[in-house]
Symmetry: C2
Subunit: 240 residues, 2 copies
DNA sequence: CGGAAACTTGAAACCTTTCAAGAGTCGTGG
DNA sequence: CCACGACTCTTGAAAGGTTTCAAGTTTCCG
Protein backbone atom coordinates (compact mmCIF):
# COMPACT_ATOMS: atom_id res chain seq x y z
CA UNK A 1 0.00 0.00 0.00
CA UNK A 2 2.78 2.43 -0.79
CA UNK A 3 2.04 3.65 -4.28
CA UNK A 4 5.21 4.66 -6.04
CA UNK A 5 3.42 6.69 -8.66
CA UNK A 6 0.56 8.35 -6.78
CA UNK A 7 -0.93 9.85 -9.89
CA UNK A 8 -0.94 6.89 -12.22
CA UNK A 9 -1.15 3.99 -9.81
CA UNK A 10 -4.20 1.87 -10.34
CA UNK A 11 -4.89 -0.43 -7.41
CA UNK A 12 -7.52 -3.13 -7.18
CA UNK A 13 -10.13 -1.03 -5.42
CA UNK A 14 -10.16 1.60 -8.12
CA UNK A 15 -9.60 -0.75 -11.06
CA UNK A 16 -12.43 -1.09 -13.52
CA UNK A 17 -12.11 -4.86 -13.52
CA UNK A 18 -12.46 -5.44 -9.79
CA UNK A 19 -15.79 -7.17 -10.21
CA UNK A 20 -14.44 -9.73 -12.67
CA UNK A 21 -10.74 -10.07 -11.79
CA UNK A 22 -9.00 -11.27 -8.61
CA UNK A 23 -11.12 -9.08 -6.31
CA UNK A 24 -14.38 -10.56 -7.60
CA UNK A 25 -16.67 -11.27 -4.68
CA UNK A 26 -14.42 -9.62 -2.11
CA UNK A 27 -15.48 -6.93 0.37
CA UNK A 28 -13.86 -3.51 0.34
CA UNK A 29 -11.66 -4.43 3.30
CA UNK A 30 -10.60 -7.67 1.66
CA UNK A 31 -9.72 -5.86 -1.55
CA UNK A 32 -7.44 -3.58 0.42
CA UNK A 33 -5.71 -6.60 1.90
CA UNK A 34 -5.41 -8.11 -1.55
CA UNK A 35 -3.77 -4.96 -2.91
CA UNK A 36 -0.89 -5.55 -0.53
CA UNK A 37 0.24 -8.57 -2.47
CA UNK A 38 -0.92 -7.91 -6.03
CA UNK A 39 1.92 -6.50 -8.07
CA UNK A 40 1.43 -4.05 -10.88
CA UNK A 41 3.81 -5.05 -13.63
CA UNK A 42 5.28 -3.00 -16.40
CA UNK A 43 4.04 -2.74 -19.94
CA UNK A 44 4.84 -5.28 -22.64
CA UNK A 45 4.93 -4.67 -26.35
CA UNK A 46 3.56 -6.83 -29.14
CA UNK A 47 5.32 -10.17 -29.29
CA UNK A 48 6.89 -9.93 -25.82
CA UNK A 49 6.38 -12.78 -23.39
CA UNK A 50 4.44 -12.81 -20.13
CA UNK A 51 6.05 -16.18 -19.55
CA UNK A 52 7.62 -18.91 -21.62
CA UNK A 53 7.17 -22.64 -21.77
CA UNK A 54 9.26 -24.14 -18.97
CA UNK A 55 9.40 -20.98 -16.86
CA UNK A 56 8.74 -21.49 -13.16
CA UNK A 57 5.25 -20.50 -12.05
CA UNK A 58 5.66 -16.99 -10.71
CA UNK A 59 2.03 -16.25 -10.06
CA UNK A 60 -1.40 -15.77 -11.51
CA UNK A 61 -1.59 -13.01 -14.08
CA UNK A 62 -4.47 -10.64 -14.76
CA UNK A 63 -4.51 -8.73 -18.03
CA UNK A 64 -5.11 -5.05 -17.34
CA UNK A 65 -5.09 -3.80 -20.93
CA UNK A 66 -4.31 -5.29 -24.30
CA UNK A 67 -4.67 -8.89 -25.43
CA UNK A 68 -2.52 -11.96 -25.00
CA UNK A 69 -2.36 -15.41 -26.52
CA UNK A 70 -1.45 -18.64 -24.80
CA UNK A 71 0.49 -20.98 -27.08
CA UNK A 72 1.62 -24.55 -26.67
CA UNK A 73 4.61 -25.93 -28.53
CA UNK A 74 4.65 -29.65 -29.15
CA UNK A 75 7.60 -31.96 -29.70
CA UNK A 76 7.79 -31.14 -33.39
CA UNK A 77 7.91 -27.43 -32.69
CA UNK A 78 4.41 -26.82 -34.03
CA UNK A 79 2.65 -23.94 -32.37
CA UNK A 80 -0.88 -24.41 -31.10
CA UNK A 81 -2.80 -21.43 -29.81
CA UNK A 82 -4.60 -22.56 -26.70
CA UNK A 83 -6.39 -19.43 -25.58
CA UNK A 84 -6.89 -15.76 -26.26
CA UNK A 85 -7.03 -13.44 -23.27
CA UNK A 86 -8.86 -10.15 -22.96
CA UNK A 87 -8.43 -7.34 -20.43
CA UNK A 88 -9.73 -8.43 -17.03
CA UNK A 89 -9.02 -12.11 -17.66
CA UNK A 90 -6.70 -14.29 -15.65
CA UNK A 91 -4.13 -16.81 -16.79
CA UNK A 92 -1.65 -19.16 -15.20
CA UNK A 93 -3.82 -21.82 -13.53
CA UNK A 94 -2.43 -24.55 -15.71
CA UNK A 95 1.01 -24.02 -14.19
CA UNK A 96 0.03 -24.50 -10.55
CA UNK A 97 0.16 -28.27 -10.69
CA UNK A 98 3.82 -28.65 -11.61
CA UNK A 99 4.78 -25.12 -10.57
CA UNK A 100 6.00 -24.43 -14.08
CA UNK A 101 4.48 -23.31 -17.33
CA UNK A 102 3.76 -25.71 -20.15
CA UNK A 103 2.72 -22.95 -22.48
CA UNK A 104 4.04 -19.57 -23.44
CA UNK A 105 1.98 -16.41 -23.14
CA UNK A 106 2.68 -13.38 -25.25
CA UNK A 107 1.26 -9.98 -25.99
CA UNK A 108 -0.84 -9.57 -29.15
CA UNK A 109 -0.48 -5.83 -28.81
CA UNK A 110 0.69 -3.39 -26.16
CA UNK A 111 -0.30 -4.93 -22.86
CA UNK A 112 -0.22 -4.28 -19.14
CA UNK A 113 -0.91 -6.75 -16.38
CA UNK A 114 -1.01 -7.46 -12.65
CA UNK A 115 0.36 -10.47 -10.83
CA UNK A 116 -0.66 -12.37 -7.72
CA UNK A 117 2.71 -13.87 -6.78
CA UNK A 118 2.91 -17.64 -6.36
CA UNK A 119 4.69 -17.47 -3.03
CA UNK A 120 1.90 -15.32 -1.60
CA UNK A 121 -0.95 -17.32 -3.09
CA UNK A 122 -1.20 -19.80 -0.26
CA UNK A 123 -0.83 -17.20 2.48
CA UNK A 124 -3.30 -14.71 1.06
CA UNK A 125 -5.91 -17.42 0.69
CA UNK A 126 -5.66 -17.98 4.42
CA UNK A 127 -5.78 -14.27 5.18
CA UNK A 128 -8.81 -13.79 2.94
CA UNK A 129 -10.96 -16.92 3.06
CA UNK A 130 -13.28 -15.52 0.40
CA UNK A 131 -10.33 -15.30 -1.95
CA UNK A 132 -9.77 -19.03 -1.73
CA UNK A 133 -13.28 -19.60 -2.99
CA UNK A 134 -12.75 -17.10 -5.76
CA UNK A 135 -9.46 -18.62 -6.85
CA UNK A 136 -11.13 -22.00 -6.98
CA UNK A 137 -13.96 -20.49 -8.96
CA UNK A 138 -11.57 -18.94 -11.44
CA UNK A 139 -9.78 -22.28 -11.80
CA UNK A 140 -13.11 -24.00 -12.27
CA UNK A 141 -14.05 -21.42 -14.91
CA UNK A 142 -10.81 -22.15 -16.71
CA UNK A 143 -11.81 -25.81 -16.96
CA UNK A 144 -15.20 -24.82 -18.36
CA UNK A 145 -13.61 -22.50 -20.89
CA UNK A 146 -11.28 -25.19 -22.10
CA UNK A 147 -14.14 -27.71 -22.35
CA UNK A 148 -16.23 -25.30 -24.37
CA UNK A 149 -13.28 -24.85 -26.68
CA UNK A 150 -13.02 -28.61 -27.16
CA UNK A 151 -16.71 -28.85 -27.94
CA UNK A 152 -16.58 -26.11 -30.56
CA UNK A 153 -13.61 -27.68 -32.32
CA UNK A 154 -15.87 -30.66 -32.94
CA UNK A 155 -18.32 -28.64 -35.04
CA UNK A 156 -18.17 -27.55 -38.69
CA UNK A 157 -16.22 -24.45 -39.72
CA UNK A 158 -19.25 -22.18 -39.79
CA UNK A 159 -20.35 -23.00 -36.26
CA UNK A 160 -16.81 -22.88 -35.01
CA UNK A 161 -16.21 -19.37 -36.27
CA UNK A 162 -19.62 -18.16 -35.12
CA UNK A 163 -18.96 -19.65 -31.68
CA UNK A 164 -15.65 -17.84 -31.48
CA UNK A 165 -17.19 -14.51 -32.39
CA UNK A 166 -20.16 -14.88 -30.06
CA UNK A 167 -17.90 -15.97 -27.22
CA UNK A 168 -15.59 -13.03 -27.77
CA UNK A 169 -18.55 -10.69 -27.94
CA UNK A 170 -19.89 -11.95 -24.61
CA UNK A 171 -16.51 -11.73 -22.97
CA UNK A 172 -15.96 -8.17 -24.15
CA UNK A 173 -19.44 -7.13 -23.03
CA UNK A 174 -19.00 -8.83 -19.64
CA UNK A 175 -15.91 -6.75 -19.05
CA UNK A 176 -17.47 -3.47 -19.98
CA UNK A 177 -16.41 -3.18 -23.60
CA UNK A 178 -18.60 -3.13 -26.67
CA UNK A 179 -19.89 -6.55 -27.54
CA UNK A 180 -20.82 -5.41 -31.02
CA UNK A 181 -17.62 -3.86 -32.27
CA UNK A 182 -14.30 -5.31 -31.25
CA UNK A 183 -10.94 -6.61 -32.39
CA UNK A 184 -10.34 -10.33 -32.77
CA UNK A 185 -6.69 -9.76 -31.91
CA UNK A 186 -5.61 -12.66 -34.09
CA UNK A 187 -4.48 -12.68 -37.68
CA UNK A 188 -6.44 -15.08 -39.92
CA UNK A 189 -3.54 -17.47 -39.60
CA UNK A 190 -3.68 -17.40 -35.80
CA UNK A 191 -7.45 -17.65 -35.75
CA UNK A 192 -7.20 -20.68 -38.01
CA UNK A 193 -4.61 -22.19 -35.73
CA UNK A 194 -6.81 -21.59 -32.69
CA UNK A 195 -9.96 -22.99 -34.32
CA UNK A 196 -8.16 -25.73 -36.23
CA UNK A 197 -9.13 -24.35 -39.61
CA UNK A 198 -6.97 -23.51 -42.59
CA UNK A 199 -6.24 -19.83 -43.05
CA UNK A 200 -8.20 -20.00 -46.29
CA UNK A 201 -11.26 -21.45 -44.58
CA UNK A 202 -11.29 -18.69 -41.98
CA UNK A 203 -11.12 -16.09 -44.70
CA UNK A 204 -13.85 -17.71 -46.77
CA UNK A 205 -16.22 -18.24 -43.86
CA UNK A 206 -15.74 -14.73 -42.56
CA UNK A 207 -16.47 -13.38 -46.01
CA UNK A 208 -19.56 -15.56 -46.21
CA UNK A 209 -20.87 -14.14 -42.91
CA UNK A 210 -20.21 -10.67 -44.22
CA UNK A 211 -22.02 -11.33 -47.50
CA UNK A 212 -25.06 -12.51 -45.58
CA UNK A 213 -25.03 -9.26 -43.65
CA UNK A 214 -24.39 -10.81 -40.26
CA UNK A 215 -21.25 -8.81 -39.63
CA UNK A 216 -18.88 -6.25 -41.02
CA UNK A 217 -15.23 -7.19 -41.28
CA UNK A 218 -12.41 -4.67 -41.44
CA UNK A 219 -9.10 -6.41 -40.91
CA UNK A 220 -9.08 -7.54 -37.31
CA UNK A 221 -12.12 -5.47 -36.45
CA UNK A 222 -15.53 -7.02 -36.39
CA UNK A 223 -18.89 -5.33 -36.12
CA UNK A 224 -21.66 -7.73 -35.21
CA UNK A 225 -24.76 -6.85 -37.22
CA UNK A 226 -26.99 -9.83 -36.47
CA UNK A 227 -26.09 -11.46 -33.21
CA UNK A 228 -29.20 -13.57 -33.11
CA UNK A 229 -28.45 -15.34 -36.36
CA UNK A 230 -24.89 -15.96 -35.21
CA UNK A 231 -26.18 -17.47 -31.99
CA UNK A 232 -28.48 -19.70 -33.99
CA UNK A 233 -25.53 -20.84 -36.05
CA UNK A 234 -23.65 -21.64 -32.86
CA UNK A 235 -26.62 -23.64 -31.63
CA UNK A 236 -26.53 -25.59 -34.87
CA UNK A 237 -29.67 -24.26 -36.48
CA UNK A 238 -29.32 -24.22 -40.24
CA UNK A 239 -29.54 -20.92 -41.99
CA UNK A 240 -29.87 -20.47 -45.71
CA UNK B 1 -13.67 -42.07 12.08
CA UNK B 2 -16.45 -44.41 13.12
CA UNK B 3 -16.38 -47.17 10.56
CA UNK B 4 -19.76 -48.76 10.20
CA UNK B 5 -18.41 -51.85 8.53
CA UNK B 6 -15.12 -52.52 10.31
CA UNK B 7 -14.23 -55.43 8.07
CA UNK B 8 -14.89 -53.95 4.65
CA UNK B 9 -14.38 -50.28 5.28
CA UNK B 10 -11.62 -48.80 3.16
CA UNK B 11 -10.46 -45.45 4.46
CA UNK B 12 -7.99 -43.10 2.85
CA UNK B 13 -4.94 -44.27 4.80
CA UNK B 14 -5.36 -47.87 3.69
CA UNK B 15 -6.65 -47.11 0.20
CA UNK B 16 -4.42 -48.10 -2.69
CA UNK B 17 -4.91 -44.75 -4.37
CA UNK B 18 -3.83 -42.53 -1.51
CA UNK B 19 -0.77 -41.37 -3.38
CA UNK B 20 -2.74 -40.18 -6.40
CA UNK B 21 -6.18 -39.26 -5.00
CA UNK B 22 -7.28 -36.63 -2.46
CA UNK B 23 -4.60 -37.62 0.08
CA UNK B 24 -1.78 -37.08 -2.41
CA UNK B 25 1.05 -35.22 -0.69
CA UNK B 26 -0.52 -35.37 2.76
CA UNK B 27 1.18 -36.66 5.91
CA UNK B 28 -0.22 -39.61 7.82
CA UNK B 29 -1.79 -37.31 10.40
CA UNK B 30 -3.34 -35.14 7.71
CA UNK B 31 -4.79 -38.19 5.97
CA UNK B 32 -6.49 -39.17 9.22
CA UNK B 33 -8.03 -35.71 9.45
CA UNK B 34 -9.12 -35.97 5.84
CA UNK B 35 -10.83 -39.30 6.48
CA UNK B 36 -13.18 -37.54 8.85
CA UNK B 37 -14.86 -35.70 6.02
CA UNK B 38 -14.44 -38.00 3.03
CA UNK B 39 -17.56 -40.04 2.52
CA UNK B 40 -17.56 -43.54 1.14
CA UNK B 41 -20.52 -43.81 -1.18
CA UNK B 42 -22.42 -46.84 -2.31
CA UNK B 43 -21.92 -48.77 -5.48
CA UNK B 44 -23.40 -47.74 -8.82
CA UNK B 45 -24.25 -50.00 -11.70
CA UNK B 46 -23.62 -49.46 -15.40
CA UNK B 47 -25.56 -46.48 -16.69
CA UNK B 48 -26.35 -45.01 -13.26
CA UNK B 49 -25.49 -41.39 -12.62
CA UNK B 50 -22.91 -39.94 -10.24
CA UNK B 51 -24.56 -36.61 -10.95
CA UNK B 52 -26.66 -35.07 -13.67
CA UNK B 53 -26.46 -31.86 -15.63
CA UNK B 54 -27.98 -29.13 -13.47
CA UNK B 55 -27.50 -30.93 -10.17
CA UNK B 56 -26.10 -28.79 -7.37
CA UNK B 57 -22.40 -29.34 -6.70
CA UNK B 58 -22.34 -31.78 -3.81
CA UNK B 59 -18.62 -32.34 -3.68
CA UNK B 60 -15.54 -33.61 -5.44
CA UNK B 61 -15.75 -37.25 -6.40
CA UNK B 62 -12.96 -39.82 -6.50
CA UNK B 63 -13.52 -43.03 -8.43
CA UNK B 64 -12.58 -45.99 -6.26
CA UNK B 65 -13.29 -48.76 -8.76
CA UNK B 66 -14.84 -48.97 -12.19
CA UNK B 67 -14.92 -46.34 -14.91
CA UNK B 68 -17.10 -43.31 -15.51
CA UNK B 69 -17.77 -40.96 -18.39
CA UNK B 70 -18.47 -37.26 -18.22
CA UNK B 71 -20.97 -36.14 -20.84
CA UNK B 72 -22.18 -32.74 -21.91
CA UNK B 73 -25.56 -32.23 -23.52
CA UNK B 74 -25.91 -29.21 -25.77
CA UNK B 75 -29.02 -27.24 -26.69
CA UNK B 76 -29.96 -29.68 -29.44
CA UNK B 77 -29.75 -32.62 -27.11
CA UNK B 78 -26.59 -33.97 -28.69
CA UNK B 79 -24.37 -35.86 -26.31
CA UNK B 80 -20.68 -35.06 -26.17
CA UNK B 81 -18.38 -37.19 -24.09
CA UNK B 82 -16.02 -34.83 -22.33
CA UNK B 83 -13.86 -37.17 -20.29
CA UNK B 84 -13.31 -40.76 -19.28
CA UNK B 85 -12.42 -41.43 -15.66
CA UNK B 86 -10.38 -44.28 -14.26
CA UNK B 87 -10.12 -45.56 -10.70
CA UNK B 88 -8.20 -43.11 -8.54
CA UNK B 89 -9.22 -40.11 -10.64
CA UNK B 90 -11.17 -37.11 -9.42
CA UNK B 91 -14.05 -35.28 -11.04
CA UNK B 92 -16.26 -32.35 -10.23
CA UNK B 93 -13.94 -29.33 -10.49
CA UNK B 94 -15.91 -27.87 -13.36
CA UNK B 95 -18.92 -27.44 -11.06
CA UNK B 96 -17.21 -25.37 -8.37
CA UNK B 97 -17.57 -22.09 -10.22
CA UNK B 98 -21.36 -22.01 -10.41
CA UNK B 99 -21.91 -24.58 -7.67
CA UNK B 100 -23.78 -26.77 -10.09
CA UNK B 101 -22.93 -29.35 -12.69
CA UNK B 102 -22.94 -28.56 -16.40
CA UNK B 103 -22.28 -32.15 -17.33
CA UNK B 104 -23.58 -35.53 -16.30
CA UNK B 105 -21.35 -38.28 -15.01
CA UNK B 106 -22.30 -41.91 -15.28
CA UNK B 107 -20.88 -45.33 -14.64
CA UNK B 108 -19.48 -47.26 -17.61
CA UNK B 109 -19.55 -50.41 -15.51
CA UNK B 110 -20.01 -51.26 -11.84
CA UNK B 111 -18.43 -48.42 -9.94
CA UNK B 112 -17.69 -47.26 -6.41
CA UNK B 113 -16.57 -43.85 -5.33
CA UNK B 114 -15.74 -41.48 -2.47
CA UNK B 115 -16.84 -37.91 -2.03
CA UNK B 116 -15.31 -34.82 -0.44
CA UNK B 117 -18.46 -32.86 0.38
CA UNK B 118 -18.76 -29.34 -0.97
CA UNK B 119 -19.78 -27.84 2.34
CA UNK B 120 -16.63 -29.24 3.98
CA UNK B 121 -14.28 -28.32 1.17
CA UNK B 122 -13.56 -24.81 2.38
CA UNK B 123 -13.21 -25.82 6.04
CA UNK B 124 -10.99 -28.83 5.46
CA UNK B 125 -8.63 -26.74 3.31
CA UNK B 126 -8.12 -24.49 6.31
CA UNK B 127 -7.66 -27.40 8.68
CA UNK B 128 -5.15 -29.05 6.36
CA UNK B 129 -3.19 -26.35 4.56
CA UNK B 130 -1.40 -28.93 2.42
CA UNK B 131 -4.77 -30.06 1.11
CA UNK B 132 -5.47 -26.60 -0.26
CA UNK B 133 -2.35 -26.88 -2.38
CA UNK B 134 -3.32 -30.34 -3.50
CA UNK B 135 -6.84 -29.34 -4.44
CA UNK B 136 -5.42 -26.48 -6.47
CA UNK B 137 -2.99 -28.90 -8.07
CA UNK B 138 -5.78 -31.29 -8.98
CA UNK B 139 -7.79 -28.42 -10.46
CA UNK B 140 -4.73 -27.29 -12.37
CA UNK B 141 -4.24 -30.84 -13.65
CA UNK B 142 -7.83 -30.87 -14.85
CA UNK B 143 -7.10 -27.81 -16.97
CA UNK B 144 -4.04 -29.50 -18.43
CA UNK B 145 -6.00 -32.65 -19.20
CA UNK B 146 -8.67 -30.70 -21.00
CA UNK B 147 -6.08 -28.75 -22.98
CA UNK B 148 -4.34 -31.91 -24.06
CA UNK B 149 -7.69 -33.24 -25.21
CA UNK B 150 -8.24 -30.13 -27.31
CA UNK B 151 -4.81 -30.47 -28.88
CA UNK B 152 -5.36 -34.10 -29.82
CA UNK B 153 -8.70 -33.36 -31.43
CA UNK B 154 -6.78 -31.14 -33.83
CA UNK B 155 -4.74 -34.02 -35.21
CA UNK B 156 -5.60 -36.67 -37.83
CA UNK B 157 -7.54 -39.79 -36.87
CA UNK B 158 -4.48 -41.98 -36.52
CA UNK B 159 -2.71 -39.67 -34.11
CA UNK B 160 -5.89 -39.03 -32.22
CA UNK B 161 -6.54 -42.67 -31.52
CA UNK B 162 -2.90 -43.39 -30.72
CA UNK B 163 -2.90 -40.45 -28.32
CA UNK B 164 -5.99 -41.78 -26.59
CA UNK B 165 -4.48 -45.23 -26.15
CA UNK B 166 -1.12 -43.96 -24.96
CA UNK B 167 -2.79 -41.56 -22.55
CA UNK B 168 -5.00 -44.31 -21.15
CA UNK B 169 -2.02 -46.61 -20.85
CA UNK B 170 -0.07 -44.02 -18.87
CA UNK B 171 -3.01 -43.29 -16.62
CA UNK B 172 -3.60 -46.94 -15.87
CA UNK B 173 0.08 -47.52 -15.17
CA UNK B 174 0.30 -44.42 -12.95
CA UNK B 175 -2.51 -45.82 -10.81
CA UNK B 176 -0.97 -49.24 -10.41
CA UNK B 177 -2.77 -51.12 -13.18
CA UNK B 178 -1.28 -52.71 -16.26
CA UNK B 179 -0.39 -50.14 -18.87
CA UNK B 180 -0.16 -52.82 -21.54
CA UNK B 181 -3.45 -54.61 -21.20
CA UNK B 182 -6.56 -52.69 -20.29
CA UNK B 183 -10.15 -51.89 -21.17
CA UNK B 184 -11.01 -48.76 -23.10
CA UNK B 185 -14.37 -48.69 -21.32
CA UNK B 186 -16.04 -47.06 -24.31
CA UNK B 187 -17.90 -48.66 -27.17
CA UNK B 188 -16.60 -47.68 -30.62
CA UNK B 189 -19.49 -45.27 -30.85
CA UNK B 190 -18.56 -43.58 -27.57
CA UNK B 191 -14.88 -43.53 -28.44
CA UNK B 192 -15.78 -41.88 -31.73
CA UNK B 193 -17.90 -39.36 -29.91
CA UNK B 194 -15.07 -38.60 -27.50
CA UNK B 195 -12.43 -38.26 -30.22
CA UNK B 196 -14.74 -36.65 -32.74
CA UNK B 197 -14.42 -39.47 -35.22
CA UNK B 198 -17.11 -41.49 -36.94
CA UNK B 199 -17.71 -44.92 -35.47
CA UNK B 200 -16.50 -46.39 -38.76
CA UNK B 201 -13.24 -44.44 -38.61
CA UNK B 202 -12.51 -45.68 -35.09
CA UNK B 203 -13.10 -49.24 -36.20
CA UNK B 204 -10.97 -48.87 -39.30
CA UNK B 205 -8.08 -47.18 -37.55
CA UNK B 206 -8.09 -49.68 -34.70
CA UNK B 207 -8.02 -52.52 -37.21
CA UNK B 208 -5.17 -50.85 -39.03
CA UNK B 209 -3.12 -50.62 -35.82
CA UNK B 210 -3.85 -54.28 -35.20
CA UNK B 211 -2.81 -55.29 -38.70
CA UNK B 212 0.50 -53.52 -38.25
CA UNK B 213 1.05 -55.49 -35.08
CA UNK B 214 1.06 -52.49 -32.74
CA UNK B 215 -1.76 -53.82 -30.62
CA UNK B 216 -4.22 -56.61 -30.10
CA UNK B 217 -7.89 -55.73 -30.00
CA UNK B 218 -10.54 -57.91 -28.38
CA UNK B 219 -13.75 -55.94 -28.02
CA UNK B 220 -13.06 -53.26 -25.43
CA UNK B 221 -9.81 -54.86 -24.37
CA UNK B 222 -6.54 -53.61 -25.77
CA UNK B 223 -3.12 -55.16 -25.48
CA UNK B 224 -0.35 -52.75 -26.39
CA UNK B 225 2.29 -54.60 -28.38
CA UNK B 226 4.46 -51.75 -29.59
CA UNK B 227 4.17 -48.74 -27.35
CA UNK B 228 7.14 -47.01 -28.92
CA UNK B 229 5.60 -46.90 -32.35
CA UNK B 230 2.35 -45.64 -30.90
CA UNK B 231 4.20 -42.87 -29.10
CA UNK B 232 5.91 -41.95 -32.36
CA UNK B 233 2.52 -41.75 -34.03
CA UNK B 234 1.31 -39.47 -31.25
CA UNK B 235 4.35 -37.28 -31.75
CA UNK B 236 3.47 -37.04 -35.42
CA UNK B 237 6.28 -39.14 -36.87
CA UNK B 238 5.16 -40.88 -40.02
CA UNK B 239 5.18 -44.63 -40.06
CA UNK B 240 4.78 -46.78 -43.14
C1' DC C 1 5.78 5.32 -51.89
C1' DG C 2 7.49 0.60 -51.88
C1' DG C 3 8.09 -3.82 -50.05
C1' DA C 4 6.59 -7.26 -46.94
C1' DA C 5 3.01 -9.29 -44.68
C1' DA C 6 -1.75 -10.38 -44.54
C1' DC C 7 -5.70 -11.56 -46.89
C1' DT C 8 -8.82 -13.32 -50.72
C1' DT C 9 -10.25 -16.62 -53.90
C1' DG C 10 -10.40 -20.54 -57.25
C1' DA C 11 -9.52 -25.51 -58.34
C1' DA C 12 -7.88 -29.99 -57.28
C1' DA C 13 -6.66 -33.30 -53.75
C1' DC C 14 -7.59 -35.58 -49.56
C1' DC C 15 -9.24 -37.34 -45.34
C1' DT C 16 -13.28 -38.43 -42.99
C1' DT C 17 -18.08 -39.12 -42.99
C1' DT C 18 -22.19 -41.13 -44.42
C1' DC C 19 -24.75 -44.86 -46.06
C1' DA C 20 -25.46 -49.49 -46.13
C1' DA C 21 -25.04 -54.31 -45.72
C1' DG C 22 -23.07 -58.12 -43.49
C1' DA C 23 -20.49 -60.38 -39.60
C1' DG C 24 -19.66 -60.94 -34.87
C1' DT C 25 -20.78 -60.88 -29.86
C1' DC C 26 -23.46 -61.14 -25.74
C1' DG C 27 -27.08 -62.45 -22.75
C1' DT C 28 -31.40 -64.63 -22.11
C1' DG C 29 -34.59 -68.26 -22.44
C1' DG C 30 -36.17 -72.49 -24.27
C1' DC D 1 -26.25 -76.07 -24.46
C1' DC D 2 -27.78 -74.03 -28.35
C1' DA D 3 -30.89 -70.66 -30.58
C1' DC D 4 -32.54 -66.16 -31.05
C1' DG D 5 -32.64 -61.25 -31.04
C1' DA D 6 -30.43 -57.07 -30.09
C1' DC D 7 -26.65 -54.63 -30.10
C1' DT D 8 -21.95 -53.80 -31.64
C1' DC D 9 -18.54 -53.96 -34.88
C1' DT D 10 -16.47 -54.36 -39.60
C1' DT D 11 -15.97 -53.06 -44.21
C1' DG D 12 -16.80 -51.18 -48.90
C1' DA D 13 -18.21 -47.30 -51.94
C1' DA D 14 -19.77 -42.75 -52.72
C1' DA D 15 -20.36 -38.03 -50.97
C1' DG D 16 -18.73 -34.05 -48.73
C1' DG D 17 -16.36 -30.53 -46.14
C1' DT D 18 -11.60 -28.72 -45.58
C1' DT D 19 -7.14 -28.41 -46.87
C1' DT D 20 -3.58 -27.53 -49.96
C1' DC D 21 -1.64 -25.15 -53.64
C1' DA D 22 -1.23 -21.15 -56.05
C1' DA D 23 -1.91 -16.72 -57.92
C1' DG D 24 -3.71 -12.30 -57.18
C1' DT D 25 -5.14 -8.32 -54.19
C1' DT D 26 -5.09 -5.47 -50.26
C1' DT D 27 -3.22 -3.57 -46.16
C1' DC D 28 0.21 -2.05 -43.17
C1' DC D 29 4.30 0.29 -41.86
C1' DG D 30 8.84 2.20 -42.37
Amino acid sequence: MTPTQPELQVTCHNCGFNSVCFPRGLSKEEIIQLEDVVQRRKILHKGEFLFRNGDPFRGLIAIKSGMAKLVFHNEQGEEHIVQILLPGEILGFGAISKQKHHCSALALDTLSYCELPAEQLHRICFRIPTLLDEILRHASDAIGTQRTQTLYIKKPAEQRLAAFLVDLSHRYAYRGFSGDHFSIGFTRQELGNYLDLALATVSRTLKQFEKKGWLEVKGKWIRILDKEVLEKIVAGEKTG
